[in-house]
C-alpha cells in the first residue's frame, strides 16, 4: 500500500488497483498488480478496505489511465455501486476508464440486473467471476487504457 508521490520518473501510464471499502482480501490485488504491470503499466496498489474518500483522493491526485476495483467478499455490488457515484462526481474522474471485477455477490452466479446497475452507476466494464475471464480483461486493457497510453495523456477518456 503506497501513495502516489514517488512515481515521477516512470513514464509508463499509471493504473490504480484497489479493494473496496469492506473487502479485506489482498491476493486478488497482488495478482492484478502483477498482471497489469506485465501488460506495460505502472500500478499503484491502494490495498484492501479502502474507504471511498481515500480512493477518490488518490485517484484525483494520480490521474490514472485506468481504475481497477476488485472485490471477492460478496459485498462488491453494494460497495462498488456506492463508490462509482463518488468517483464519477469528481470532474477530473468523470471519464477515467473504471472497471470492477471478482466475486461481486454472495450467490456465486452472475446477476444481470446488478451488472446493469453497476454499468449505469459509471463502470465501463464489470468482470464478474464465472461470466467473464481474465482474457476479456486483458482485451479491455489493451483497448481502453491502451488508447490513452498511445495518446500519452493519462486520464483522458479512451
Amino acid at each position: 500500500m503506497h501513495g502516489g508521490a514517488a512515481l515521477v520518473a516512470d513514464r509508463r501510464p499509471t493504473v490504480v488497483v484497489s479493494g473496496v471499502a469492506s473487502d479485506s482480501h489482498t491476493w486478488n490485488l497482488v495478482f492484478l498488480q502483477l498482471l497489469i504491470e506485465e501488460l506495460g503499466y505502472q500500478v499503484v496498489n491502494l490495498g484492501p478496505t479502502v474507504p471511498d474518500e481515500l480512493l477518490v483522493e488518490e485517484c484525483q491526485e494520480l490521474a490514472p489511465a485506468l481504475i481497477v476495483l476488485s472485490s471477492v467478499n460478496g459485498h462488491g455490488f453494494q460497495d462498488g455501486l456506492r463508490v462509482a457515484g463518488k468517483l464519477r462526481d469528481c470532474q477530473e474522474l468523470a471519464a477515467t476508464p473504471l472497471v470492477i471485477g471478482g466475486k461481486l455477490g454472495i450467490g456465486g452466479e452472475q446477476n444481470e440486473r446488478q451488472i446493469g446497475e453497476l454499468l449505469a452507476a459509471g463502470f465501463d466494464a464489470v468482470f464478474q467471476d464465472g461470466a467473464t475471464g481474465l482474457a476479456d480483461f486483458q482485451r479491455f486493457i489493451n483497448t481502453a487504457a491502451g488508447a490513452n497510453r498511445l495518446a500519452g495523456s493519462p486520464g483522458v477518456p479512451a
Binding site: M1, S22, S24, P48, G74, G108
Partner: protein
C-alpha cells in the same frame, strides 16, 4: 419458525458452558466439528445453527459476522438490510439484542456452545455485543485480525484488542468463562511457512492469557503438504504445552484456507485430510470447508454435509492414540526461535508484537499491510512443502538456508496459490467412482476408496 422469547433478565442470568472445557471433553477421542456459517437473515441463521446441532457429528455452532460489521460500517449494514441485499455474515452489532437472543434461544446450551467468528482489528463494539448476549466464545487476535484484514495500524489493533480482551475476561467475575481462539495459525490463508503460523498462534494465546482469558484454543490452518502440517501441529502442541500457563487449551485445525478445489471430490479430499490431520495429532476441533468454497457462501445443507463427512474422515484417519513424536522438529525449532525472539523484546506481549513487526522479526510473505516489513518470502518445493525463499530479518539464519528471493510473475503466483486446487481436483478425477456422482454418494465413494 417458532421463536422462544427470552424473558427480560434471562440473558443476564444465562450461564453458558465453557467452550474450551466442552471441546476438550468432547474432542478427547475424536475432533469436534464446526462450520463457517453466517447469514444476515435471523431466521436463516437460526436454521443454520439448528441444522449444525442436529448434524450426525459431534458439533459446536458458529455465527460468522459480515464484512461491514468487521470494518465498523454499520451504515452499510442498515442500507443493505433496507434494500434486502444479503450480507456475507450475521450483523450482530446492528440487530437488537433480543433478535439475537431469539436466534439462539433453545439451541445453545450445555450440549451446544456457539462461537462468534469475525475478523476485526477494531472489535470493541463486537465484544460489547457478545458480553451482553453472554456469547462467551470467539476468536481473533491483535495480529491475525489486523494484518490480513485491512489497514488499521498494528499498534492500534493491539490497543483495541487489549481493551476488548480485558472486558471479555471480566465475564469471569460473573461466573461466565470466556473463551478465545487465536486466528494466528491462518495468516493470509496461504503461502506463510508453518513455523511462523505456529509462532503467531502461540504468541496470540500468550497475549490473551496476559489479559486475563483462561480458556484458550490455538489454530493451525492446513497448508500444502500433509506431512509438513502434521509436524506443524505437533510443534504447536509442544510449544503451547511449554509456554501457556494454563491447562485449559486445545488445538483447532482449519481445513485449507487458500484457493480451494472446484470439484466436489477435490473439496472433500482436502477436507478429509484436514480431519485426518486433526485425528493424527490429537487435535480437538476442526473447522470445515464446503464444496461451495471456491465460488460462494455455502448453503446450510452443504455445511452439514461437510461436518458429517469430516467426522467420518477423522474416524477413519485415527490410528491408535496420537503420540507426540520424539525430538525437536525443524518446524518446532523455527517456531520456538521466532517466539523467543519476540518475547525477549518486551515483557508485555502486545508491545513485543508491535516491535517484532517493526524490526522484521515477524514478517508475513505477500502481506500488503504497511506495518509488515515485506522482506520475507516463500515458495512451494516440488513436494508442495512451504519453504522460505528469503528470510528478511527473521531470526532464523542459524536454522534455515533460504533458497533465495525470486521474481514472481502473475501466472507463477497463481500457480502457487492454485497448487492445492490443482492437486486435489486432479487426484479426485481419477478416484474410482468419485466423479459425476451426487455429493452424498460421491462422499461415500471417496471415504471408501481411502
Amino acid at each position: 419458525m417458532t421463536l422462544v422469547r427470552p424473558a427480560d433478565g434471562e440473558l443476564a442470568a444465562f450461564a453458558p458452558v465453557d467452550f474450551g472445557a466442552f471441546v476438550r471433553e468432547r474432542g478427547a477421542h475424536a475432533p469436534v466439528m464446526q462450520p463457517r456459517m453466517g447469514m444476515s437473515d435471523p431466521a436463516a441463521m437460526r436454521a443454520g445453527l439448528a441444522a449444525t446441532k442436529r448434524a450426525a457429528a459431534s458439533t459446536v455452532g458458529t455465527i460468522t459476522l459480515d464484512s461491514y460489521t468487521r470494518v465498523g460500517d454499520l451504515g452499510a449494514v442498515t442500507e443493505a438490510l433496507r434494500q434486502g441485499i444479503a450480507l456475507n455474515g450475521y450483523p450482530i452489532v446492528s440487530y437488537p439484542e433480543r433478535q439475537t437472543a431469539e436466534v439462539l434461544a433453545g439451541l445453545r446450551g450445555r450440549d451446544f456452545p456457539v462461537q462468534v467468528r469475525h475478523g476485526s482489528p477494531v472489535p470493541q463494539a463486537i465484544f460489547a455485543a457478545l458480553i451482553r448476549l453472554r456469547l462467551n466464545a470467539t476468536e481473533g487476535g491483535p495480529v491475525s485480525y489486523c494484518l490480513p484484514y485491512g489497514r488499521t495500524p498494528l499498534a492500534d489493533s493491539v490497543r483495541n484488542w487489549e481493551e476488548s480482551v480485558r472486558r471479555y475476561a471480566a465475564l469471569r467475575e460473573q461466573g461466565v468463562e470466556p473463551h478465545l481462539e487465536t486466528f494466528g495459525g491462518c495468516m493470509l490463508g496461504q503461502m506463510c511457512p508453518p513455523s511462523e503460523l505456529v509462532a503467531i498462534s502461540v504468541l496470540e494465546a500468550l497475549f490473551f492469557h496476559h489479559h486475563g482469558v483462561r480458556s484458550l484454543s490455538l489454530s493451525y490452518a492446513q497448508q500444502t503438504n500433509h506431512e509438513q502440517d502434521v509436524e506443524a501441529v505437533w510443534a504447536l502442541r509442544r510449544l503451547a504445552g511449554e509456554l501457556l500457563p494454563t491447562e485449559n487449551w486445545h488445538v483447532v485445525v482449519y481445513a485449507y484456507m487458500g484457493v480451494y478445489p472446484s470439484t466436489p471430490g477435490g473439496c472433500y479430499r482436502v477436507l478429509g485430510l484436514a480431519a485426518e490431520l486433526a485425528a493424527r495429532t490429537g487435535s480437538e476441533r476442526v473447522i470445515v470447508k464446503t464444496v461451495a468454497e471456491s465460488v460462494r457462501i455455502p448453503t446450510v445443507e452443504e455445511n452439514v454435509a461437510a461436518l458429517e463427512y469430516a467426522a467420518e474422515a477423522a474416524d477413519l484417519g485415527r490410528t491408535g492414540t496420537p503420540r507426540m513424536p520424539a525430538g525437536e522438529s525443524q518446524t518446532y525449532l523455527e517456531a520456538r526461535a521466532l517466539v523467543e525472539a519476540v518475547l525477549e523484546l518486551d515483557p508485555d506481549p502486545g508491545r513485543a508484537l508491535v516491535q517484532a513487526f517493526r524490526r522484521g522479526l515477524l514478517d508475513i510473505p505477500y502481506c500488503l499491510h504497511p506495518d509488515n516489513r515485506g522482506r520475507a518470502s516463500s515458495y512451494l518445493d516440488e513436494a508442495g512443502r512451504l519453504c522460505w525463499a528469503d528470510l528478511g530479518a527473521l531470526p532464523l539464519r542459524h536454522l534455515v538456508r533460504p533458497a533465495g528471493a525470486r521474481q514472481v510473475s502473475s501466472s507463477g503466483l497463481l500457480a502457487d496459490l492454485s497448487y492445492v486446487r490443482r492437486k486435489f481436483d486432479e487426484e479426485c478425477a481419477v478416484l474410482p467412482g468419485g466423479r459425476g456422482l451426487p455429493p452424498e454418494q460421491q462422499r461415500r465413494a471417496i471415504v471408501s476408496s481411502r
